[in-house]
C-alpha cells in the first residue's frame, strides 16, 4: 500500500482470535510523520473521549437546536433573513463549518451531527450503553434492523456527488426558503433512519449524505486526525475491537479499520475506536495542514472538481450582480423553466464535463511534456486532482467571508426573534442590517485565494515527486495543471474583486 492510502470500501471483518487477550499496556508512539499526540500530551482529553456518554451529551443540544430550526422553518417567517433556520444554518453554521471546523477539526461536525443519530440509536436500541453479544458480520455488539451490506457497486461517493449537485441546482431555493430547508433537512433524517433499518451502521453518512462528501474531501486538509500510534501493534493484535466492537464500545460505524487508516476522508470522529482499543493505541494527532494527499478513485477526483466549480457557480449566482442568472435559479418564484433547465445543465455540464475535461487535457499535456509514456494517464488524473482540494477549500472560505460579513447582522436579530414574529428575547431584535466592513472583504479574499494556490502548488509538488523520480519530469508534468490552477485562482479573483 502506498503512503497515505486507505481502503475506501469497508473491510471484511477478520476472524476473531480465540486466544486470551494479551496483557494490556499502553502503546508507545512510533509514527515517523510529524504530529503531536494530543491524547498523550493531555491525558484528560483521552479520559473525556473514552467517556461513553460524551457523544450523547454533545449531540443532544444539537438535536434540540435542530428541532427548533425545523419548527421555525415550518411555522416561522417565510422571509429567509428573518428566520433562524436560514440565518443560523446557511450563514452561521456554514461559515463555522467551512472556515473553522473542517480546516482545523476535520469531521468534528460528524461527531455532533443530528441527522443520522436517530437511526443509530434505533440500531443500537441504546442512547449510550453497549449491547454486547453476537451481532451481524462477526460484530460483537447486537444491532437492530436488517443489517444488510450496502450494494458493492455503490460503495463509493458517486451518489454523494450526484446528491450534492442536485441540491446545488436548487440552492437558490434551499438557502433562502425556510420551508425548503426544513423539508430537505427533515427528509435527510427520515432517509437516514430508513437506511439504518435496512443497511448496517452508518450507510447514510458513508454513501449518501451530500454534506459528508465534501466534509470527507476537505478533511484531508485538516490539522486534526484520528490515527494509531503504532500500526505494528494493530497488525499483531487479532481481536480487532475497533472494527468489531467489545463491551466498551461499538465497532467503527463508518466501517473503517483505524489500524490501517492513513486518511481522514471516512473517519466520522465518533471516537468509538478510542474507547474500544485495549492498548490505548488510538489517538488524536495535531498535524500540519494538508497532510493527506492521496485521492483514490474517480469519485473522489470528481468531488474535488464539483466543489471548486460550485464555488465559482455560487459566486456568479448568489454573489454576482446578474439578475438573469438569479431569475433562472429562482425557479419557484419566477417560474422560468427554460432558464432553470439551462442553469441546471450548466451546473452539471461544468462540474461533470467541462472542468474534468480541462483537467484531463492538462494532465495529458503534462505527461507529454514529461515525456513519460509509461505513466498511466488515469493515475495522474486522479492524483493531480488533489490540486483542487486546497484551492477549493480556500475558494469556499473566500466565498463564505462576504456571506458572514454582509449578513452577519441577521444573526443578532434572529437570535432575539427566531421565528420573525416580532419578539425581542435578548434585546437584539431591532438590530438593523449593516454589513461589517464590506470594503475590506476583497482584501481578505485575495490572500485567502493566494494561500489556496500556494498550498495547492506545494501539495501537488509532493504528489508529483511521489509519481516521478526525476524532479524535472515532475515539474514538467505538473506545469499545465499549475497553470490551470493559477487561471482558476485568477477567475475567482475576477468574481470577488474584479
Amino acid at each position: 500500500m502506498t503512503p497515505g492510502s486507505q481502503p475506501a470500501r469497508p473491510l471484511e471483518a477478520p476472524e476473531p482470535a480465540p486466544a486470551a487477550r494479551a496483557p494490556v499496556k499502553p502503546a508507545k508512539p512510533i509514527r515517523d510523520w510529524p504530529g503531536v499526540d494530543l491524547l498523550d500530551r493531555y491525558p484528560f482529553v483521552r479520559k473525556v473521549l473514552k467517556w461513553r456518554p460524551l457523544q450523547f451529551w454533545l449531540i443532544w443540544p444539537n438535536v434540540l437546536f435542530f428541532a427548533a430550526f425545523l419548527y421555525a422553518g415550518l411555522f416561522g417567517s417565510p422571509v429567509g433573513s428573518r428566520n433562524v433556520m436560514i440565518v443560523f444554518v446557511w450563514i452561521f453554521w456554514w461559515f463555522l463549518l467551512i472556515a473553522l471546523l473542517v480546516p482545523f477539526l476535520s469531521r468534528a461536525w460528524c461527531t455532533v451531527c443530528p441527522l443520522p443519530v436517530f437511526g443509530e440509536w434505533l440500531q443500537r436500541l441504546r442512547f449510550v450503553g453497549v449491547r454486547s453479544g453476537e451481532g451481524p458480520k462477526k460484530q460483537r455488539t447486537r444491532m437492530f434492523g436488517l443489517n444488510l451490506e450496502w450494494p458493492r457497486a455503490l460503495q463509493n461517493i458517486w451518489l454523494q456527488n450526484l446528491g450534492f449537485l442536485c441540491l446545488a441546482s436548487f440552492s437558490a431555493l434551499l438557502v433562502t426558503r425556510p420551508i425548503v430547508s426544513t423539508f430537505v433537512l427533515g427528509g435527510m433524517i427520515v432517509l437516514a433512519v430508513a437506511l439504518s433499518l435496512v443497511f448496517r451502521q452508518r450507510a447514510f453518512c458513508m454513501y449518501l449524505c451530500p454534506v459528508s462528501g465534501f466534509l470527507g474531501l476537505y478533511s484531508m486538509t485538516s490539522t486534526l486526525a484520528v490515527r494509531v500510534k503504532d500500526p505494528t501493534l494493530c497488525r499483531s493484535h487479532k481481536e480487532k475491537e475497533c472494527l468489531l466492537g467489545c463491551e466498551s464500545g461499538y465497532g467503527c460505524p463508518w466501517f473503517q479499520y483505524v489500524g490501517g487508516m492513513t486518511r481522514n476522508n471516512y473517519c466520522g470522529m465518533c471516537f468509538e475506536c478510542v474507547k474500544t482499543c485495549p492498548y490505548d493505541n488510538v489517538t488524536v494527532f495535531l498535524r500540519p495542514f494538508c497532510s493527506d494527499r492521496l485521492l483514490k478513485g474517480y469519485d473522489e477526483a470528481f468531488k474535488a472538481f464539483i466543489m471548486l466549480v460550485l464555488a465559482l457557480v455560487y459566486s456568479v449566482t448568489l454573489l454576482g450582480p446578474w439578475g438573469t442568472v438569479k431569475d433562472w435559479a429562482n425557479i419557484s418564484e419566477v417560474g422560468n423553466w427554460k432558464g432553470f433547465g439551462l442553469y441546471v445543465l450548466a451546473v452539471f455540464g461544468l462540474c461533470l464535463g467541462v472542468f474534468p475535461a480541462l483537467h484531463l487535457a492538462m494532465t495529458w499535456l503534462g505527461r507529454r511534456l514529461a515525456n513519460e509514456p509509461k505513466a498511466r494517464l488515469g493515475d495522474s488524473f486522479v492524483r493531480y486532482a488533489y490540486v483542487w482540494v486546497p484551492l477549493g477549500l480556500f475558494a469556499w472560505i473566500a466565498f463564505s467571508v462576504p456571506l458572514m460579513a454582509v449578513n452577519g447582522a441577521y444573526i443578532l436579530s434572529t437570535l432575539s426573534d427566531p421565528l420573525g414574529h416580532g419578539w425581542d428575547l435578548f434585546r437584539t431584535g431591532s438590530v438593523q442590517w449593516h454589513p461589517l466592513l464590506p470594503e475590506w472583504i476583497g482584501l481578505v479574499q485575495l490572500p485567502l485565494l493566494l494561500a489556496g494556490l500556494y498550498v495547492s502548488l506545494s501539495s501537488s509538488w509532493r504528489i508529483g515527486r511521489e509519481l516521478y523520480a526525476d524532479s524535472h519530469k515532475a515539474l514538467l508534468s505538473l506545469a499545465p495543471t499549475w497553470a490551470f490552477a493559477a487561471t482558476m485562482t485568477v477567475a475567482l479573483m475576477c468574481f470577488f474583486v474584479g
Binding site: 503512503p3 510529524p34 417565510p78 422571509v79 429567509g80 433573513s81 428573518r82 437558490a172 433562502t176 426558503r177 448568489l318 454573489l319 450582480p321 446578474w322 439578475g323 438573469t324 438569479k326 429562482n330 418564484e333 513519460e372 509509461k374 505513466a375 498511466r376 493515475d379 495522474s380 454582509v406 441577521y410 449593516h434 454589513p435 464590506p438 470594503e439 476583497g442 482584501l443 485575495l446 485565494l449 493566494l450 494556490l453 500556494y454 502548488l457 509532493r462 511521489e466 509519481l467 516521478y468 523520480a469 526525476d470 524532479s471 524535472h472 519530469k473 515532475a474 515539474l475 506545469a479 499549475w482 497553470a483 493559477a486 485562482t489 485568477v490 479573483m493 475576477c494 474583486v497 474584479g498
Partner: protein
C-alpha cells in the same frame, strides 16, 4: 511499474525553508507590484448621469464602470416593491419606493436621519470594486440582490493577478532550484 513511486520528499531544513519563503514573498510582491504599475491608468474624470432601476432581485445596470475622480449622479427607481441601495465604501444608504421620484437617503456614519433626494452624487475617490446592495428586505433572494461599482484603476484585481502569476513562477523556480534532476 508505470509510475515510480518515490519515498516522501524530505522536508527542507529550516534555513532553506526561510529562503524559500523569502523568494516566494518577493515573487508575490514583485508580481503584485508589476500588476498594479502596469494597469495604473484611468481616463480623465467626468460627470456621469446614471439611472439605476431596482427590481426583485437585481439592479439595472448590474455593473457600473467609472474612473477615479468621476462624479456619479445617481437616480434610483424601483420597478416593483420597496428596495434599498447601500453603496459599500461610500457611506450611502437609500430607500427606494416604487413610483416615487425621490429616494430617502441617509449616510450611515451620520445616523438614521433620512433626507428626500432626487439624485445622489458620489465622487469616485476610492478605486476598486464596491457593491451596492439592497438594504430593505424585498423578498426571498433579498440578501443576494446586489450590483457592482468598479472604479478604475482596480488595484486589488491587478495586484491579485500579478501576485498569482508571481507565486506560480516563483514556486516553479524554487522547486527547480531546490531539487536536482536525476541526470544532474
Amino acid at each position: 511499474m508505470a509510475l515510480e513511486v518515490v519515498a516522501d520528499v524530505a522536508r527542507p531544513r529550516a534555513r532553506t525553508r526561510w529562503r524559500t519563503a523569502a523568494i516566494l514573498a518577493a515573487a508575490v510582491g514583485l508580481g503584485a507590484g508589476a500588476g498594479i504599475l502596469l494597469f495604473n491608468t484611468s481616463g480623465p474624470p467626468k460627470d456621469r448621469d446614471i439611472t439605476i432601476y431596482a427590481k426583485q432581485y437585481s439592479f439595472e445596470p448590474p455593473i457600473i464602470r467609472a474612473n477615479r475622480g468621476d462624479r456619479l449622479h445617481l437616480k434610483l427607481v424601483s420597478l416593483d416593491v420597496v428596495h434599498g441601495f447601500y453603496l459599500e465604501g461610500y457611506d450611502v444608504d437609500a430607500e427606494i419606493l416604487p413610483q416615487q421620484k425621490n429616494a430617502l437617503v441617509r449616510h450611515p456614519s451620520q445616523g438614521d436621519q433620512r433626507v428626500e433626494q432626487e439624485e445622489i452624487t458620489v465622487v469616485a475617490t476610492q478605486t476598486g470594486k464596491f457593491r451596492y446592495r439592497c438594504s430593505h428586505t424585498c423578498g426571498a433572494l433579498h440578501p443576494f440582490m446586489s450590483g457592482e461599482l468598479i472604479v478604475a484603476p482596480n488595484h486589488s484585481l491587478h495586484g491579485g493577478i500579478g501576485a498569482s502569476l508571481g507565486l506560480l513562477v516563483g514556486f516553479a523556480l524554487v522547486v527547480r532550484r531546490r531539487e536536482p534532476t536525476a541526470a544532474a
